[in-house]
Amino acid sequence: MKKLFVILTPILLIGSLAISVLASNGNKIGSEVPSKETIENAPNTITTGIIDSSINISAAEDSIEEILKNPNFKNHGYLAKQITQSVALNKMDTIAAVKNIQGESELKFAKKVTSVLVNFTDTETPQLPSEIVLKDYPVWIVTLHGINVKTRFGTILADKNVIIDANSGEEIESFSYPSVE
């Protein structure tokens, strides 16, 4: 009986701690992220020297239609037009900038990351405190589709748009609304 106890006690201890750690992760608000398997099996995933291969970036150039799929973009007064001038930042530099600004985890947890080079107009906040006027302004719109965002009433699935100055690489603003996919 005593031997049985010597064996069982550490097993029970380790088991209970393991259960609590698992419970902790399961209970954590915002833990409902897509599995690594889902991310890795997603189509068009590419690998670069800068970006982690588990980030699901579409290989092809994304079209403006990609961001217009979510009607909230237009509903909030954002306009995107095909760009005509050349800019300093390419797509992968932009993604790397977003990774630095937002954190790699957010990019990894996104179901899909798209980036579109456009002339951007923000009719809602045309004049930023930074004095940039967002009217036909050349930007990369990097959209993190299907990320978990904590709100006052719990975690919701959202699309986050990070607006990056296409020449300076600075983040201009970001906005999020519920995902529709």
Binding site: S16, K28, G103, E124, S174
Partner: protein
């Protein structure tokens, strides 16, 4: 033998209890500041920006300070403006956010970096048709009241955290200053207002110096810092 068995089981029970308590104590929403339960058309105040510690490396965790008008009967109907810092950011940014989740409306926007140590005026207020989000007297966003048609029966000016390890928001020696607390009456006049004290029921390290009779200016801090 029986005594040893009891001791062993006691140790297991205690360890399991501690781990369960730890599990459920780490993740929670906590608030620290002032409120008024009153029908209103908006809330306003001046809030000092600081750069608090935000727990974790996941970008879904954040700490914020804001003014808000809301339906106090639920957490799903509100409009707020202030500053926030996400755990992956090096410094906080201005933001505004609103929700009327009854119709799946939720929207948030982060603007440029809010300078640490600066005092900034935040305001959310409406006329008969539109809610305005104003930072330092500049309107940074609007939304139609038909999109967020909630009953505005409370105003709040608070700090908010999502994890017990987050710093909310200042420190003992450098608390976050909040002042010029106001609300907009239903007859559309902005008036100076006495906000009632609110502190977290579960996180005793959240402190503020709102008096028992309420205050128009106050400080909030985290006693661990």
């Amino acid at each position: 033998m029986k005594f040893k068995m009891r001791i062993s089981f006691s140790v297991i029970v205690v360890l399991v209890s501690i781990s369960v308590i730890f599990t459920y104590a780490t993740v929670e929403y906590d608030f620290n500041g002032g409120y008024i339960s009153i029908n209103n058309n908006g809330a306003a105040g001046t809030i000092e920006t600081q750069n608090p510690y935000v727990y974790g490396s996941d970008s879904d965790n954040s700490v914020s300070a804001w003014v808000m008008t809301l339906d106090g009967s639920t957490s799903t109907r509100f409009a707020q403006a202030g500053w926030r810092k996400v755990s992956t950011w090096s410094s906080p940014k201005y933001f505004y956010e609103y929700a009327y989740w009854d119709n799946q409306t939720w929207y948030t926007k982060d603007l440029n970096t809010a300078t640490t140590g600066s005092n900034n005026d935040f305001k959310v207020g409406c006329d008969s048709s539109t809610m305005y989000f104003v930072i330092n007297d500049t309107s940074v966003g609007t939304v139609s009241l038909s999109t967020i048609p909630f009953s505005r029966n409370a105003v709040e000016i608070m700090g908010e955290t999502h994890d017990t390890n987050d710093q909310c928001l200042g420190s003992v020696t450098n608390p976050v200053s909040i002042g010029n607390a106001q609300y907009k009456t239903t007859s559309n006049s902005w008036i100076s207002a006495i906000y009632n004290k609110y502190t977290s029921q579960t996180l005793s390290t959240m402190k503020n110096n709102i008096s028992v009779n309420g205050s128009t200016n106050w400080e909030i801090w985290d006693s661990r810092y």
